[in-house]
Amino acid sequence: MLEINSIERGIVIDHIKAGYGMTVFNYLHLENADYNVALIMNAFSLKMGKKDIIKINEVIDINYDFLGLIDPNATVNIIENGKTVKKVKLEVPETVTNIIHCKNPRCVTSVEHYFDHVFHLVDKEKRSYRCEYCDDIVIPYPNK
């Protein structure tokens, strides 16, 4: 059994859908961190079967919209003095800005690059989104 020590002060992102841990890790640029970070993939979970976990030995700014977009069932625990002092409840965001980009080659976002990329929620269950500009519908992080 792999053991990762608990952290004194920092953030634990738990119950990430298995396979998306690396996506979260990359989005938070944790590869550049100068503090301890653990990415655990395919950890056993009674509820989920398999899950990914990220432990960050520092309190950093996190874009909760992004986490909600990837997996609203993930949990974010803020740790101080080895204890959880705050649990953040994630939600599927109604609007996401500059997190995903439109892949429609006919969209204005493919040729002009100075404005926000905005998507609006279409279906909460599927987590599908509509591009503000061209209306193309995307499911950025489908259920695996």
């Binding site: 006919r106 969209c107 976002t109 519908i137």
Partner: protein, 307 residues
């Protein structure tokens, strides 16, 4: 209140706001002379990044008939776009000179994006294969003049429904009215986009069928809206050639239509309606073009806060 608003998508205005525009358009048709000085001292900018004949002329004729003036360009090479200027900068500059603008662009969403950078009213005159709301105004005015109202009717849409921006806007508009039914006639590759089928038609509970034959459905239709398969929307020429002649409306097919089924087309036509159909009294596409000018006159007046 429509003053200083932008019309980018049919969803931007309420039914009541559209009613104001159509009521004014009917009044203008009844007495155009009365409105010939309504826009004196006002300037319309027509920013056409993509070729157009009737839409640009229609906007320009509309403003001139209201007593206003027109500036603009009809292709991007004759503007600062050729020097690499962004759409936002072009629009911010034009806003210093004009009171209102109509913009056509090959990229989907360009007018929506541009509208975030300016304060003057902006009208989407067609953005790629996405939306064309003023063609919808034209279509609705034509439908009202032929049949009184848009409710409780079956509308057939035939041809390129995937990239046909006039279809997308018209379906979006009609989906707000009671008793409408849609029959989408197209090859499988050119069916309406997902956002129209799922987010507009299905969400609003509109009955619809997607079929790939015209004749069996002609007898059900109150209006048949024909569209051109647009070469400029295809990345692959082979696909265009394979699909372009799939549906051609000719005199023989018109025998399947009811005596009160009207044929509409946003124009330009290539060969999807045979010229032999033009003399059929049910063919109304050239009347649409005239109505387009009147309804754009009404739209310009409303967005400038006149009337």
């Amino acid at each position: 209140m429509l003053k200083n608003r932008c019309l980018i998508d049919p969803a931007d205005f309420t039914r009541e706001e559209f009613r104001e525009i159509f009521d004014l358009a009917h009044q203008i048709i009844a007495d155009p002379e009365k409105y010939s000085k309504s826009c004196e001292g006002k300037i319309l900018a027509t920013l056409f990044y993509e070729p157009s004949t009737r839409t640009r002329f229609s906007f320009e004729a509309a403003m001139l008939r209201l007593g206003g003036k027109v500036i603009g360009f009809s292709e991007p090479n004759s503007s600062s776009t050729a020097k690499g200027e962004s759409i936002a900068d072009t629009l911010r500059t034009i806003e210093c000179y004009a009171d209102i603008a109509a913009m056509r662009h090959p990229k989907e969403g360009a007018p929506r994006m541009a509208s975030h950078y300016i304060h003057m009213p902006l009208i989407n005159a067609g953005d790629g294969g996405h939306q064309h709301p003023t063609q919808t105004l034209t279509d609705i005015l034509t439908i009202e003049r032929l049949r009184g109202n848009v409710e409780n009717k079956t509308y057939g849409f035939c041809g390129d429904l995937k990239f046909g921006r006039t279809v997308h806007s018209l379906v979006k508009f009609l989906s707000n009215y009671e008793g409408v039914k849609f029959i989408f006639i197209s090859p499988e590759e050119l069916r309406v986009p997902e956002y129209i089928r799922e987010e507009v038609v299905k969400k609003k509970g509109i009955p619809f069928e997607e079929v790939d034959q015209m004749e069996p459905y002609m007898g059900q239709l109150d209006f048949l809206y024909m569209t051109r398969v647009q070469r400029e929307r295809f990345f692959n020429e082979e696909d265009y050639i394979r699909l372009k002649d799939r549906f051609i409306l000719d005199a023989e097919k018109m025998t399947y239509a009811r005596p009160d089924t009207y044929i509409l087309h946003p124009l330009p036509r290539v060969n999807e309606i045979s010229t032999e159909v033009d003399s059929d009294p049910r063919a109304q596409y050239f009347n649409q073009a005239r109505n387009g000018m009147y309804v754009r006159m009404a739209l310009i007046c409303k967005l400038l806060g006149i009337y």
